[in-house]
Amino acid sequence: MCGIAGILNLDGAPAEASLLRGMIQVLRHRGPDDNGVYADAAVGLAHARLSIVDLSSGHQPMKNADGSLWITFNGEIFNHVELRETLARKGHVFATTSDTEVILHMYAEAGEDCVRHFNGQWAFAIWDARKRKLFLSRDRLGIRPLFYARTARTFVFGSEIKSLLMHPGVERRLDLVALSQIFTFWWCLPPRSIFQDVLALPPGHSLTVERGDIAVRRHWQIEFGIEPNGHADVGACAEQLRGLLLDATRLRLRADVPVAAHLSGGLDSAVVAAFTRKVNDTPLKTFSITFEDPELDESVFQNEAVRRLGTEHQAVHCSTEDIGREFPDVIWHTETPILRTAPAPLFRLSRLVREHGYKVVLTGEGSDEILGGYDIYKEAKIRRFWAAQPDSKLRPLLLRKLYPYMRDLQRQPDAYLKAFFRVRPQDLASPFFSHLPRWELTGKLQMFFSRDVRAALRSYDPCAELEQQLPKDYARWDPFCQAQYLEAAYLLPAYILSSQGDRVAMAHAVEGRSPFLDHRVVEFAAQLPPHLKMKVLDEKHLLKRCTTDLVPASVRRRPKQPYRAPGVSSFFRADGSGAREAYVEELLSPQRLQRDGVFDPVAVEKLVAKAKRGHTIGVKDDMAVVGILSTQLVLDRFIENFSGRAGHGAV
């Protein structure tokens, strides 16, 4: 796992090695073990290395035997062993045992289609000197990040945005459309980033730069069947899923360093840890987070899983003060506004993992998206069921089954709960039926935008833009699959795998690997009939069924509790005595907001006053505080006071 960066000067000017060194230096947290720069005429590649596979000869950028191909690579090709054998039979001669070299040879063999052979998580760039072509690719699910920018004279790319911002040609300007998307969906639609000049290469895409032309092509897409196999035998499907997950875990244990695992107390990480124990009998080290608030803390289930799985466990406690204190560093790594503080405890967790000497952890990410774990799927099912008989007295009672872990929501009187989840006649035909209550609630946060920002966005509709991007068969998919697509194609790469995944893990040079994100597992799950994923209201039904002998019954049977972290209480004391940290006061002050111009100082002042009163505030206000503060941090650290180093804002 590593950081990559590079330049291709379109006007033919020589790529400056010093600039490349600056661009890779800012990614040093991703790869502290080694670094390298290759510059030849107009092209330059740079690499910061975290050594995991082939510790002795995996130095990058790496070239092929005749020097006609150069690569800088971040990630893992898990099936490199098998690919190497296939390629060797075809006459390819390898100089190292690294997966990096396998990519080079596979590219020499299959060209841009090389990626179809990979089982892995990658972001890489290959300079094809003969064709004068730069080839960039990102893995299917978007596990590893890759950003690029085109200026008048240059094409620039890097693992993180901060690397691109080190290039003097890339301007640092906020993209208001992206901001509007984040303040609706939680994430921005690819290829946008929060910076106008910086684009994300979307998951499952490759990009070429040839003779000054940039072309972006899709190499993979998650496809839900129009007619999933409704008669599939549940026993056979469970067995197949188990086999795939076991093999996905086996491949993800390939490393020349020891591999640890997360153990959150939930089903997914317990399943992964259990499969790991099955694949090998070496002791397994596991890590988790604990909270003060019993509504968020999962220690009881963590301990139970530890006992049953016999792991060596280490937990890190995360207090509200910790989140408030570390939040600016977290935003330095997420490089985007966020509406929840959930990445902050994960930032602490990766530091713990690193302090214990581990570079690789197995995780359970992706399971909720692809195997039907999220409450939003359940919510949509209940709303649709109710809408079929809107006058039913009994059907809306099912709404009480939703979000049992959310105290505030459970305190809602029936009539108001019904109002929040109500289905309007026009909603049933919406491609976003499942997500409407959530997006409408989140969209209201835009009331805090300044008059100028609201005017600039007056005619912009994020949902209309998203609708343009949907796959052509989307409308014919089962509604359950539509909801799954929105989570798997957008929320997963643009928030879960980035702000809660790669970015906070790599902040401390820790690589996450999830067996659920093996594309064979994802493709299999996508074709399963929805009732095997959520049987009536039993989430992840098939996963539970195929792991009954592996995870403790208490973990398997507990109601699903998504991972959450304290929000507004991380920034304001509950006793009404004000902000915990000086930067919070400063960035949310009317003067500062006025100067920055993104948010309305009067509205934010009232919100802050409400937060300071220390009363419990609702989900929407909580998201508003976190969203506004994180946006202000992005402005401060990346636009106004960018220095290429963490902790160097004005406040």
Binding site: Y416, F448, D600, V604, K620
Partner: protein
């Protein structure tokens, strides 16, 4: 009563609209339908009424019939105060 309605309107504008007065609404408008109050908002409203008018609102009284418009709330609170007196 007019003073009460004014006070209530001020609370709604300050607390749910954060001072935004570009969304005019009448005393009869449904707070739910106009999106002026969301799911947790009603609990804040109840806390405000209990605190400011020294009344107690039971769980089964937290229904849109009682609390969904400025006029409705005004009637509801009026009855409560009368019953107490």
């Amino acid at each position: 009563m007019e003073r009460f309605e004014h006070q209530l309107r001020k609370f709604i504008v300050e607390n749910f609209l954060f001072g935004d007065e570009t969304m005019p609404f009448s005393n009869e408008d449904s707070l739910l339908d106009r999106g002026l109050i969301d799911s947790t908002g009603v609990l804040e409203l109840v806390a405000f009424l209990q605190q400011n008018f020294a009344i107690t609102i039971a769980d089964d009284e937290i229904v849109p019939d009682n609390l969904d418009s400025i006029l409705g709330i005004s009637d509801f609170v009026g009855q409560k105060l009368q019953a107490r007196a």
